[in-house]
């Protein structure tokens, strides 16, 4: 019983971070119909900037805000400088349709190499701002620390703010309109280009928060968020790739599911287990928990 509770607690904490990454991927997918593999690169770059701030000022809150803004900025730059040009040609031919995805992969490589040149490929210790020792109840210690609490609270805050923006403001509506019918959205007076960039900005910020929250548990390297990209993608697929709520539910499902598999079957099976979950999700419910079937072929 104790073991199951522990698995659940670890799963929730990880799940919130997967949800943030999934949220970032979904936001980009909704605004521009691309799976942005560079999201891991943008997130790790923001995390390095947060790391730089925290080592210089020793102020985690400042680092958190700095990293978040850096993530948003990088997202905007990528969309404006790179993706906008590529999307113009997307309908030119079968290969051009893949160009944005391939470019995002190239960008992932580029960002990593640049980080490696600036900070080095070795591990950098990202010290946690609060204790990572689990809370103690009576005589039992649970694997849920102040840091985990910070992760859950931080991630949940970002999600709530995003949900409010996308559900309650016109921006969310414009974003959806621009994604589904760009021509009609433009006729209705929506500045489609600017709206798409907004999607990338929010995605960049969400990815940055995911990176900054997951890193204090571990050291950072230019590659340390690769696995997060895969978890985020799987979570987004479980949720249906279209839906923000789906991304959150998918992330938590994956986090808790993986945590139970690791606790009861074996800690080394994390990637095969993820792949099995992805395969199952695609076989059982390809449209995702919150997606419509037509969306899959769009």
């Amino acid at each position: 019983m104790q073991q199951a509770i522990n698995a659940l607690l670890i799963g929730i904490s990880n799940g919130f971070i997967y949800s943030l990454m999934a949220l970032a991927l979904v936001l980009v997918w909704r605004s521009t119909r691309v799976i942005n593999f560079a999201q891991a690169g943008q997130a790790i770059l923001s995390t390095y900037i947060a790391y730089e701030i925290v080592t210089r000022t020793d102020n985690f809150i400042l680092a958190f805000i700095g990293g978040l803004l850096a993530g948003a900025l990088v997202g905007a730059v990528v969309e404006i400088l790179l993706m906008r040009t590529l999307f113009k040609h997307v309908s030119d031919g079968p290969v051009a349709a893949l160009a944005p995805v391939i470019a995002s992969l190239g960008l992932l490589g580029l960002i990593r190499s640049v980080i490696g040149m600036v900070w080095g490929n070795d591990q950098k210790p990202f010290f946690p701002p609060v204790s990572t020792n689990g809370f103690t109840f009576g005589s039992t210690t649970v694997p849920f620390s102040r840091m985990n609490l910070l992760i859950v609270v931080g991630a949940a805050t970002v999600m709530i703010i995003f949900t409010l923006i996308f559900q309650k403001s016109n921006l969310g509506l414009a974003l959806r309109a621009a994604a589904f019918q760009p021509e009609i959205a433009r006729l209705a007076g929506i500045r489609v280009g600017a709206i798409r960039t907004t999607g990338w900005i929010f995605a960049g910020a969400a990815g940055a928060v995911a990176g900054i929250l997951i890193s204090p548990n571990d050291a950072i390297t230019p590659y340390s968020l690769d696995s997060l990209l895969i978890f985020g993608f799987v979570a987004a697929v479980i949720g249906g790739l279209e839906s923000l709520i789906g991304a959150v539910v998918g992330g938590l499902t994956l986090g808790i599911g993986l945590s139970f598999i690791l606790t009861y079957i074996g800690t080394s099976l994390i990637f095969p287990a993820t792949f099995v979950v992805l395969a199952l999700a695609l076989i059982i419910r390809p449209q995702g928990l919150f997606g419509s079937k037509a969306a899959r072929n769009a």
Partner: protein, 322 residues
């Protein structure tokens, strides 16, 4: 008759390359083998993406399957080298068929993500099963060259000969299949799936076949790469899949002949990077990251300026002139 001429062309160029290898420097011979292997790996992507229109970011994983099964059959069953290649090719093809069954139901972004997950996830299996020997990897050797080749026939030359013959055989097969009924079927699928289906093409079956063959080709490339290098998780990780995609994009995705060009670039980049890094003072940070930097910059610039691939761009340009 046409294919007979092609056969002679393949045999002729193989013989010339084999003879040439006797005359050039050791290091270049080794790089020649690398180029041939990359060309084969890239053509596995060209076959899949350029012909059947499916994306795979995970062909490095199929190369890993080929390399590991080939190495395992050599170590445990002591199979002759050629048969280990056959095993490597077919087990990768089997894995491709399994994945292809799922892949045929998926559209672009899902397939790209799923194959990427495979490329990241599969190499980690090496640390899970003791038979795969973790980070140390497996010993997989070509054996020493036959003594009657003489003293001057070095191990690198032997590598090159084995690699070249196998690569040429496979390339010949790939070249033929792409100009066969199946190749035309795939092109039709890529161009317009609905129209292809209406004219009686089995969409699912053709896609699975393309995936299977592509994986088999990658499997052979992986076995060969394992033979000249080593069979371990670091050599077959995301970096390899990434390099293959880069090579395929650089060579234009739609042309098999272009895969040679992409392969040459892939082998040339580390050379070029080491020259530049030397100029910049050879610090560890620069030397270890410059190849990646050049490769990804090249990849981004290629898709930015020639979104349909360089080959297509040249074709268009020519058409416009006429």
């Amino acid at each position: 008759m046409h294919s007979l001429r092609r056969l002679f062309l393949f045999i002729f160029s193989t013989l010339i390359l084999l003879a040439l290898s006797l005359k050039i420097e050791e290091l270049r011979v080794y790089q020649g083998a690398q180029i041939a292997i990359y060309a084969l790996g890239i053509s596995s992507i060209v076959l899949l993406t350029g012909y059947s229109g499916q994306v795979s970011l995970g062909n490095g994983a199929f190369m890993a399957i080929g390399a590991y099964t080939a190495a395992l059959t050599q170590i445990h069953w002591h199979l002759p080298l050629f048969f280990t290649f056959v095993v490597g090719t077919f087990s990768a093809a089997l894995a491709g068929a399994l994945l292809g069954g799922g892949a045929a139901r998926l559209s672009g972004p899902y397939l790209a993500g799923a194959t990427l997950a495979l490329a990241v996830g599969l190499p980690t299996l090496a640390n899970q099963f003791t038979i795969l020997n973790g980070e140390t990897g497996l010993d997989y050797t070509s054996g020493t060259p036959p003594t009657w080749f003489g003293e001057s026939f070095t191990l690198y030359k032997w590598f090159f000969w084995i690699v070249l013959v196998n690569v040429m055989l496979m390339m010949f097969f790939v070249r033929n299949i792409t100009s066969s009924r199946y190749g035309r079927t795939w092109k039709a699928l890529r161009g317009n799936p609905v129209a292809a289906q209406l004219s009686g093409i089995q969409v699912g079956g053709s896609k699975i076949l393309a995936f299977t063959i592509s994986a088999g080709v990658a499997g052979l490339a992986g076995s060969l790469l394992g033979m000249i290098g080593f069979v371990g998780p670091t050599g077959f990780g995301l970096g390899l899949s990434f390099a293959l995609v880069t090579g395929a994009v650089l060579s234009g995705v739609t042309s098999l002949a272009g895969s040679m060009l992409g392969a040459v670039v892939l082998v040339a980049i580390p050379e070029l990077a080491s020259v530049i890094a030397h100029r910049l003072g050879d610090t560890e940070r620069v030397t270890s990251n410059l190849p990646g930097l050049i490769m990804s910059t090249l990849l981004i610039l290629t898709v930015l300026f020639t979104p349909n691939g360089p080959a297509e761009q040249i074709r268009k340009h020519k058409a416009r002139k006429q």
